[in-house]
């Protein structure tokens, strides 16, 4: 029954603050000692939500975050008032190339081989450079320690008749560790229901034309979307670790991703290629050096239904990244010195004559982790970045203080962030849809800047001899202020080359105030509760995009229960929900607040057989119209999945 035990242990980890995290300090630290509040999504969270990719996962777990659609049903993101391009997504600390709308293709970030996800809200550019303006999401791969594991899994979801099939294999010896994963997904197009048919609308229009009484509400449809496109994905990943000596470890990785999106006129094809090699040499416990090289490529192209490539929508983004990081401990204190080089190449139909542009980014950074007393910890970081294409420089810094009172842990943090203008924002020259509306890049753009201040208190304790409350709990309260300036957006560019145009420009920014509350309690009887609430408010030059609707109040919650009923059967049950308040924009043509609930039952049967059943949108919520950030539901749906650990049988 190890699979059941692993699940239960991961579940407890999420409450008891035992796990180790790396994102907040660029080095392993216990979650309770992390210098900045880190939201951890554990392996158990990933399994119990049954999420397919990072978008699915974050939607269910993180309040104050909203994915939506943009043009061509590309995905947009807003997290705590920041757009998607202000949130840095990393895989094992590495960046990814390519974009769909304002960030990477989230379909690449499937969760088949993921061990945990760490989320740090607020700026982190002093450690991670450009794009870490509003937050960092770091997806950490799983590393199985059993001699070998093999898993096959399949899931059907009634929404879009979606199929997800996967296989994973790993082996572990004294010298070698290998993790291989494959996943395929397929979802059919989904026609979104309209409140009224074209005939019903025509009837009311006819009454109106004839001067008869008519129902005006039938003529008032605010939907932006009528159909969700179907798509297929294939995702293969390999990660191979060689412990060459006690001091030297080499990690190689590679991956291939393919997605096809079936559109009305064309099929969109997306290809992702990744490869990397990392070496870690540890002289002793106190000193180690990491050197790594990473390559990532993301391509897009259009194909006609007969399979002919049109070549009029070709896109290729290629990134070469070299890292060096030296870590030195001085007793309880430690120093990190790092430097990176990145070559970023972009060729796209959105440049004049499908031209290409490239730029180099070099940076250096240092962090000192100073444990002044048993209770007081101060972490300071500084970083310098240079971008060749825009000749822009950026200095960023962070100062984090942790003080452990007997009853609570107190954290205070200041961090600065920046986002360098992308090649697309600098050089775009794109006639949108060939309709005579030009999007123009601006080579004179300045980097976006942010300043993040936050304070947090955290308490973790066990309750004993109090009857039904007996168990462990943790509570985190964080208040923050993000000052975001020189935001890159588009303004009216006037008439250019005979066309109306929009021009990329640095606008005045916004200030985001917010409070995050997280509460977890696990009762000794196996029942658990996790609740995450987020409040935020934007002031300043607030711009409300059609593609997302930031909401002041949002919440996610989950009530869980796990119990082994017999030697051959255990149950992991979760009732979860996601509640969104009214949009801050005051728009009334979008959902004015809604809650979507999900019931998940995971049956662990015999040895290594897991049957997952879920009912999503339990109370059959349906948006009154489908706008870009509507919840993607047409009502209650169900899923059923089977996962078999072959090594357990």
């Amino acid at each position: 029954m190890p699979a059941i035990n692993l699940s239960a242990q991961s579940f407890r980890d999420s409450v008891e603050l035992e796990p180790v995290v790396v994102t907040a300090s660029h080095s392993p630290k216990a979650l309770k000692d992390a210098p900045v509040v880190t939201r951890l999504i554990t392996l158990h969270d990933i399994k119990i939500t049954d999420a397919t990719n990072i978008q699915d996962m974050l939607t269910q777990e993180i309040p104050g975050l909203e994915f939506g659609f943009a043009m061509s049903q590309e995905t947009s993101l807003n997290m705590g008032g920041f757009g998607g391009n202000a949130v840095l997504f990393l895989v094992d600390g590495e960046r990814m190339a390519g974009e769909t709308m304002d960030n990477v293709d989230y379909n690449r970030l499937n969760l088949d081989n993921v061990g945990r996800i760490e989320i740090v809200k607020g700026a982190s550019s002093a450690l991670y450079g450009s794009n870490a303006v509003g937050g960092v999401v770091n997806i950490i791969s799983r590393e199985n320690l059993e001699p070998w594991t093999a898993n096959i899994n399949s899931r059907y979801n009634s929404f879009g008749h979606e199929w997800r099939n996967g296989a994973n294999f790993s082996f572990n010896t004294k010298k070698w560790n290998s993790q291989t994963s494959f996943q395929h997904t397929k979802i059919d197009p989904v026609d979104l229901p309209k409140p009224y048919s074209s005939e019903e609308i025509a009837i009311e229009l006819l009454k109106k034309a004839q001067g008869l009484p008519y129902d005006a509400s039938v003529l008032d449809d605010d939907s932006n979307l009528s159909r969700l496109y179907g798509q297929k994905t294939y995702n293969v990943k390999e990660r191979l670790t060689w412990r060459a000596t006690d001091k030297l470890t080499l990690i190689g990785r590679g991956g291939y991703f393919f997605r096809t999106s079936e559109r009305d006129t064309y099929d969109y094809h997306f290809n992702g290629y990744s490869a990397g090699l990392k070496g870690r040499y540890a002289w002793d416990y106190a000193r180690h050096l990491e050197l790594s090289y990473a390559y990532d490529q993301y391509d897009k192209a259009n194909f006609l239904p007969d399979g002919t490539r049109t070549h009029d929508h070709d896109y290729s983004n290629r990134q070469h990244v070299a890292h060096a990081l030296y870590h030195h401990s001085f007793g309880k204190n430690s120093l990190i010195l790092g430097a990176d080089y990145m070559h970023d190449y972009l060729s796209t139909y959105q440049f004049v004559d499908n031209a290409s542009h490239a730029q180099n980014n070099i940076d250096g950074y240092a962090q000192f982790d100073w444990n002044i007393t048993e209770r007081l910890n101060v972490v300071g970081s500084v970083r310098y970045d240079y971008f060749s294409a825009s000749a822009q420089k950026a200095f960023t810094e962070r100062l984090a203080v942790v003080y452990k009172f007997p009853w609570i842990t107190f954290r205070a943090n200041y961090a600065s962030g920046f986002r360098a203008p992308t090649l697309k924002e600098m050089y775009m020259h794109f006639d949108m849809g060939n309709m005579g509306y030009l999007l123009r890049g601006n080579p004179d753009l300045k980097p976006e800047k942010s300043h993040n201040f936050n304070i947090a208190v955290e308490r973790t304790n066990r309750i004993r001899n109090s009857g039904f409350l007996d168990g462990r709990y943790n509570f985190t309260l964080m208040g923050y202020c993000n000052i975001f300036d020189k935001r890159i957006t588009t303004i009216d560019g006037g008439t250019y080359e005979g066309m109306e145009s929009a021009l990329y420009w640095n606008e005045d920014g916004i200030t985001v105030w917010g409070v995050d509350v997280s509460l977890g309690h696990i009762w000794d009887c196996g029942v658990s509760l996790r609740l995450n609430y987020s409040w935020m408010h934007e002031t300043g030059n607030v711009y409300y995009s059609d593609f997302y609707q930031p909401r002041s109040h949002s919440m996610t919650w989950r009530i869980g229960y796990n119990h082994r009923f017999s030697r051959h059967y255990a149950l992991d049950a979760a009732l979860s929900g996601r509640s969104q308040g009214k949009p801050q924009s005051g728009r009334t043509d979008v959902d004015q607040g809604y809650t979507i609930c999900k019931l998940m039952l995971q049956h662990h049967i015999w040895r290594g057989i897991h049957l997952n059943t879920a009912i999503d949108n339990l109370f059959n919520y349906k948006p009154k119209s489908y706008y870009y950030s509507s919840p993607l539901t047409t009502g209650t749906s169900f899923s059923i999945g089977l996962s078999v650990d072959l090594d357990m049988i």
Partner: protein
């Protein structure tokens, strides 16, 4: 008595004549074909909704031409200006049926091509089309996907026959 009898006979004769003329009308004069009743040019107001943004185009003429007794083609005039122009396009094979005093035309999906303002061939798809004719008035609702435009247009037209 004679007068009463005469009046009764006269009324009976009038009733007979009217009833016969009614029968004669039904039996001898065939109803005009639905397509013939609705064909022609209708002038009125066209509304396009793209990405929840509405634009209104007045004094447009939608032309319906008869193909068979129960089938018509529809021609929609050019809309937009300069490079942002959708050229005139057609929807063929709209099937007609009678619904009370209204004649209804329906097309689930129609695909065609036109030459765009930049000289290249553009594909378009019209879906979920409804046309309602009553007296001299027509209302048309439909969804249009044009070229590589990422957004579909929702079109509606209200017009009267010249």
């Amino acid at each position: 008595m004679k007068i009463k009898s005469l009046m009764t006979m006269t009324l009976a004769a009038v009733a007979f004549v009217f009833s016969m003329s009614s029968c004669s009308s039904n039996d001898d004069e065939p109803e005009v074909a639905l397509a013939t009743q609705v064909e022609g040019s209708y002038t009125g107001n066209e509304i396009f909704v793209v990405d929840n943004e509405e634009s209104s185009n007045e004094t447009k003429a939608y032309v319906f031409s008869k193909v068979s007794d129960t089938s018509i083609d529809m021609n929609i005039p050019e809309v937009g200006m300069g490079m942002m122009t959708i050229p005139s396009f057609s929807v063929k094979g709209i099937t007609l049926s009678k619904d009370g005093n209204t004649i209804k035309g329906k097309v689930a999906s129609y695909e065609g091509t036109v030459t765009g303002s930049d000289g290249t061939e553009k594909a378009y798809t019209v879906t979920d089309l409804t046309a309602l004719f009553s007296d001299k008035t027509v209302v048309v609702t439909y969804t249009l996907k044009y070229g590589k435009m990422p957004f579909p247009f929702t079109g509606s037209f209200t017009g009267t026959k010249k």
